[in-house]
Amino acid sequence: MIAGAMFYVFALVLIASAVAVVSVRQPVNAVLFLILCFFNAAGLFLLLGAEFLAFILLIVYVGAVAVLFLFVVMMLDVQGDAPRPPLKRFLPMSLGVGAVLLVQVVVMAVFWPQAQAVISVATDIENTKALGRVLYTDFIYPFQVSGLVLLTAMIGAIALTQRGSRGTKRQNVQAQLDRRAEDVVSLHHVESGKGIL
């Protein structure tokens, strides 16, 4: 009963905030609505008993991806008051995508009983625990190699973008000590009434 009510609350807020993401004028507000979307989707996952997916959604999408979007939006200097492109231009495309999604949902609904017979669901163990049991035992090898993949990506990102300290004015003590008066000071005899140049 309560679970059913909560499903409708999460689902309605999810749909409403998804509509808001594409309809509000300020990009920053759109990203904030996107975060609301993620929270509600996470709530739906929790209701389904998929608590690991719910946490991953919050940690990865809200904690990292949405924050990245916010940074991009704030840095790009996009204004919300630009004229909106006509709806007509996007309508055929969006109707097409919507139709494909609808067909997929119908196909899944029709074949779901068959698929459920194949998928075995262990109900006696939470899925975080189940993942934890195999992630560091049976799958330790791909897990470690994934770590190396991320290390490579990190080194690569730094090697390709780091510009060094060319723009900063750091004090170089040795250069200051090496500076000699005869190299940098020159004496000019300036005639009166004329400049140096």
């Binding site: 799958f139 791909p142 190699v145 490579t152």
Partner: protein, 486 residues
């Protein structure tokens, strides 16, 4: 037996890469030369560790396999990686940015990915290892970020390779759906039940092969090769031409020959089509190239096509992958990577004023100015062309002989014809070096001691292979027999 010690060479390379990364981080860009030398030493040490291994088996929960075949390929791979790293100082020394310590570290990590690819015994292990290799290669290709061409090549390679990885992953998911497990053993067992092959399995298999074809740059998935070879910094081009080809072809042979052997009726025609297209395109399109790096790209396409002929050969009696075919591929890989590295090794040491030598016509008159270097380059090119006393001939000989024995004589015939056409562009370079009048403006950059040693060893290997071929030929035979004959 799940001993983690099976992965000792891989662990060594991983730890050495991280230690060198720390040295680079604390010592700054000045440490580039030191880190590069240390990286070469650790790669060669890992090769020695691999060569000393005797035991065979599967470790790390059935995901990591070690046997004679894997050892043979890994030794080749590590020597190729070390050899391409030796070319780095002379090239980056002439650049504004100098040799950064990240460069050898990334080469080591990409090489580690290739070692793990070779040892893969599970689809998940295969995929993560492939991604480790790819990420390293993308960054290396774009490494000269002040050069527009390098960034462009990096972006192109990234887009196409990521796309092919996605296709391959989709194919792997279909194979998993068929077998119900990700291990190679599960796949082989399920296929051996002898049921009719569902369409999903065929689609998945073709997708996986398309992914592999792009990695080894087989036509019609070769489009990235000339642009990436041309744009990447020269030592990276040398690395790209040698190491990933060894890893990807060796892995393709394992995947097709062991878990998917019962589906040979599906993959053999695909391999034959890829082989014919690559040999034809690589040989003819190479004739039009003026740039040395682009020419080597088409040479790679043609050579990979010839090697695919060896993989397509099936044993007419036992029905499995032909032992002689795969043996020929290993010999071919060995002589091919040495000759390719040799060509890049000579070119890396040449410059015209401040600029690098890139055009074939810049080599005119090289034989008068630098007779020894010309001799080395000529030996490498004759070997690539497959002229008999040199090593390259034996690669082609064993592969095409296996194809004839397996009844694929049309493919062998195309292979011979393609080699004759391709010989045209190799010999053209020799003709330009020895018979064309040059302006004499080609200079040599100061090469390191290791660079000269590498060139000398490569030349000795190519020239003297005919006198003492047994280590490679016998080693390849033993390695392949252990893999294919249970």
């Amino acid at each position: 037996m799940t001993s983690i010690l099976f992965a000792l060479p891989e662990i060594t390379v991983a730890l050495a890469a991280m230690a060198l990364l720390l040295i680079g981080a604390f010592r700054g860009d000045k440490a580039g030369g030191l880190v590069t030398s240390a990286a070469v030493v650790s790669l060669l040490a890992a090769a020695a560790l691999v060569a000393l291994g005797r035991e065979s088996g599967v470790a790390l929960y059935g995901m990591f396999a070690v046997d004679d075949y894997r050892r043979f390929v890994k030794v080749m791979l590590l020597i190729a990686a070390a050899g391409s790293l030796v070319l780095a100082p002379v090239f980056f020394g002439g650049q504004k940015s100098g040799l950064k310590p990240e460069y050898p570290v990334l080469v080591m990590l990409a090489t580690l990915g290739m070692m793990l690819m070779i040892s893969a015994h599970d689809w998940i292990a295969l995929y993560v290892a492939l991604e480790l290799q790819n990420l390293g290669l993308y960054v290396l290709t774009a490494f000269q970020r002040e050069e527009k061409r390098s960034s462009e090549a990096g972006l192109k390679y990234f887009m196409l390779s990521a796309f092919s990885s996605a296709i391959m992953l989709f194919g792997l998911s279909l194979l998993y759906g068929f077998a119900g497990g990700t291990g190679f053993d599960v796949m082989a067992h399920t296929l051996a039940q002898g049921q009719a092959m569902p369409i999903g399995l065929v689609v998945g298999l073709v997708f996986v092969m398309a992914g592999f074809a792009l990695k080894v740059s087989a036509a019609p998935f070769h489009m990235w090769t000339p642009d990436v070879y041309e744009g990447a910094p020269l030592p990276v081009t040398a690395f790209l031409a040698a190491a990933p080809k060894i890893a990807a072809l060796a892995l393709l042979a394992v995947v097709l020959g062991v878990p998917l052997i019962a589906a040979a009726s599906v993959w053999q025609p695909v391999l034959m089509a890829l082989a014919v297209a690559s040999m034809a395109l690589g040989s003819f399109a190479g004739l039009l190239q003026k740039n040395i790096k682009r020419l080597m790209a088409y040479s790679a396409i043609a050579n990979v096509g010839t090697m695919l002929v060896g993989l397509a050969a099936l044993d007419p009696v036992a029905g499995g992958m032909s032992v002689e075919g795969l043996q020929g591929v290993l010999i071919y890989l060995a002589v091919y990577f040495v000759a390719t590295l040799g060509v890049f090794g000579v070119v890396a040491g040449l410059r015209q004023g401040e600029a690098l030598v890139e055009s074939v016509d810049d080599l005119a008159g090289l034989s008068q100015a630098h007779p020894w270097l010309s001799l080395v380059l000529a030996a490498m090119l004759f070997s690539l062309a497959g002229v008999p006393p040199l090593a390259g001939f034996f690669g082609k000989y064993f592969v095409l002989l296996a194809a004839v024995k397996a009844g694929l004589w049309p493919l062998a015939l195309i292979g011979v014809l393609a080699s004759v056409v391709a010989a045209g562009y190799y010999l053209r370079i020799v003709k330009i070096m020895y018979f064309d009048k040059g302006s004499g403006s080609v200079l040599t950059s100061p090469r390191s001691y290791a660079h000269n040693c590498g060139l000398a060893l490569a030349t000795l290997f190519v020239v003297l292979f005919v006198l003492w071929p047994s280590p490679v030929i016998e080693g390849a035979h033993q390695a392949v027999e252990r893999l294919l004959v249970p």
